[in-house]
Symmetry: C2
Subunit: 229 residues, 2 copies
Amino acid sequence: MGADEVQRAAVRLFARRGYAATGIREIGREVGLNPATLYHYVGSKQELLVTIMRTCLDQLLLAGIEAVEFGDDPRVHLARLVRAHVGLSATNPATARVTDQELRALDTGEQEQVLELRDRYEALLADVVRKGARAGVLHARDPVVTRLALLEMCNGVAHWYRPDGRLTVRQVQQRFVELGCRLLGVGDLPRAADLGPPPRVVRLACEPDHPPAVTTRAVRPTPKAQEVT
Amino acid sequence: MGADEVQRAAVRLFARRGYAATGIREIGREVGLNPATLYHYVGSKQELLVTIMRTCLDQLLLAGIEAVEFGDDPRVHLARLVRAHVGLSATNPATARVTDQELRALDTGEQEQVLELRDRYEALLADVVRKGARAGVLHARDPVVTRLALLEMCNGVAHWYRPDGRLTVRQVQQRFVELGCRLLGVGDLPRAADLGPPPRVVRLACEPDHPPAVTTRAVRPTPKAQEVT
DNA sequence: CCTAGCCAAACGATCGTTTGAGTGGGAGAT
DNA sequence: ATCTCCCACTCAAACGATCGTTTGGCTAGG
């Protein structure tokens, strides 16, 4: 028993029911521990959430920085950013979902710090779009809206991707690199070889082994019995 | 004082803090009513949420059906679907946010019904993509993933759009029609005239007048003092 | 004998909801 | 015009349940 297992249980429950709707006692039950014992591993419920979100955003920012440090073609940077973002979200869907849905649960001070991490990541993408547009290698009529659309599209992966589904993480990355390039008007999408070595697919310590069932068409029978991932 | 004002207050608070974190007493304070009095207007907190979500999804589905009933070009249907979806999300950002973030707060029975509404809407888009691909007027290497990406992109509008921001609803619609067409490989995006009359921009009764401050870069000072909407 | 790990029990606070008791103004009867 | 009754509306107070957290003490291995 360790702090990691508590985090994994918390992420699983936070992702399924939400932070506010998840009780300390529920987390304890999940790991077979008395509620009081949890406080030997974590300082508080809030601190538990902050740690999870920081773990995720630290990794996202790190991966983002690595993405734009390779070569100097904005198109390559774009593709590498999308690949890294999608890779992290698909490998850690529960953690990613908690990270971008529960910002509102943090109180002001910690929210500020977490937001700064997110801002720094988004600034990487903004830079790429700006430079690419100036160089004429990508075309966004409205760079700001286009960037937000791309961002939401990538974040969305965490909402529907299932590790045990039809697609591997690598496949989703490939498809999203193409989609991202289309979105930003990159004429000839960079060949895989030009993107450099694929990034390590980082599995966070707080990502639960079996991501929680979530309320999405992907996991429930649909009228058309349709496959999703 | 009426049920609508209670709904507006609820939407504002649910969008800001989340359903589980919002107390009945808070909603009461927002409309200047005793907690007990609220129960003359709504049956329960859960029922309040269900009504809000149904209002939103009913309208989305209705607008979606109207979108695909015009002409028979899948490209036009696609553009009209995106235009309708973005229009609703941008006009009712708080309601839209609550609607797709709080599904997990519903208990099984009502979740089922709400999900069916969502499924029927998504089926409209799936149809358009399928028919368009078969007709060769749009190109999606992976139709399922592309559709999910488009959907998340449109849903994302509710996360960052500010009615008092740089762009009008119509402008966001225009930009997203272009982005949607790019995403789906529509070669020559349909001219505005071919899309038929722009849909009524429906403001839901439960959408609060001043959408709540939300945790997004759009409303907080950022290092680069950057405009977003 | 110490300490890390664990738990039962209790803390005060807050949760959604119900109870029971007023209000006040408008419709209908006189 | 006056009286009566009714009903929509409102509230203070309390219900039992659950919340995050703390206290105090038990256990077992080094």
